[in-house]
Subunit: 157 residues, 2 copies
């Protein structure tokens, strides 16, 4: 896990991909977003989505899952190299979340994170504030998901 | 389900409440956000959250679940009264999502939705574009969650 000083604007990291099966789409929807176009293939086909579509919250939650897995992998690797590991602070939220295209059953979405800005925190001088754009791209190369996340990242000093 | 013409800026609707049990927090976290302060009471207490804390994506997904249930309830009631029911379009995304305070195990969060602006769509004249602020407030009256959602709402004409 990297410190504020290690991060550069423009840095991009692939965080992993996920195939949204009909089963996974329906399971999430039944728990958190039981609209009919998220629950039934035929209803999905008749909807503006044109097929059984994943809930936007499912897409965002899967992105979170992959980001966490990526961070945990980086921390294990850094610890294995005997490096000091930076523990990031909790996220205060995010901005400009966009579901740009439907994610339909069978689609595989690849997620990436790119640093768009960094600044030191005025109120907490031991921390930096990082903004990163997280994106999801489907198997046809179409951007389907984008959001701007804010993170608190510790400084080395 | 109401049409664009029925919605007024400032309208507020309580959409329901949810108690985040330790069990529900851990179950969501294991699936989508397996950070240790979302999975274990002791790790939560040692974290900046000060207790076992719900994933922000869990809070957002529960808000979605209650919004959908509220919409479905309104549609059933309108249909039972023999009224014409408006079918809202899919949401293109949202802005300014804020996790303002931790949601800890045992907290009950009440969600509400308030119309903040409305305009007709230039590209799709049969639709209006509504912005609504969705909020979550805990049992101590503290605002814990806020986001600005955009929805396409059909016009009567």
């Amino acid at each position: 896990m990297r410190f504020f000083e290690d991060m550069e604007v423009g840095q991009r990291r692939e965080v992993g991909s996920f195939t949204f099966t009909a089963e996974a789409i329906k399971k999430f929807a039944a728990q958190f977003d039981p609209q009919r176009f998220h629950l039934d293939e035929e209803e999905g086909r008749k909807s503006p989505f044109g097929g059984l579509a994943a809930s936007g919250w499912h897409v965002g939650s899967v992105c979170m899952k992959l980001l966490v897995a990526d961070v945990q992998r980086q921390m294990r690797e850094a610890a294995a190299r005997g490096e000091k590991v930076a523990e990031w602070g909790p996220s205060p939220g995010f901005r400009e979340l966009r579901w740009l295209k439907p994610v339909l059953a069978g689609d595989t979405v690849s997620f990436a994170s790119e640093v768009v800005s960094k600044r030191t925190s005025e109120s907490r001088p031991r921390w930096g504030v990082l903004k990163a754009r997280q994106t999801g791209t489907n198997q046809r190369g179409e951007l389907v998901y984008s959001m701007l996340a804010t993170a608190f990242v510790p400084r080395r000093s």
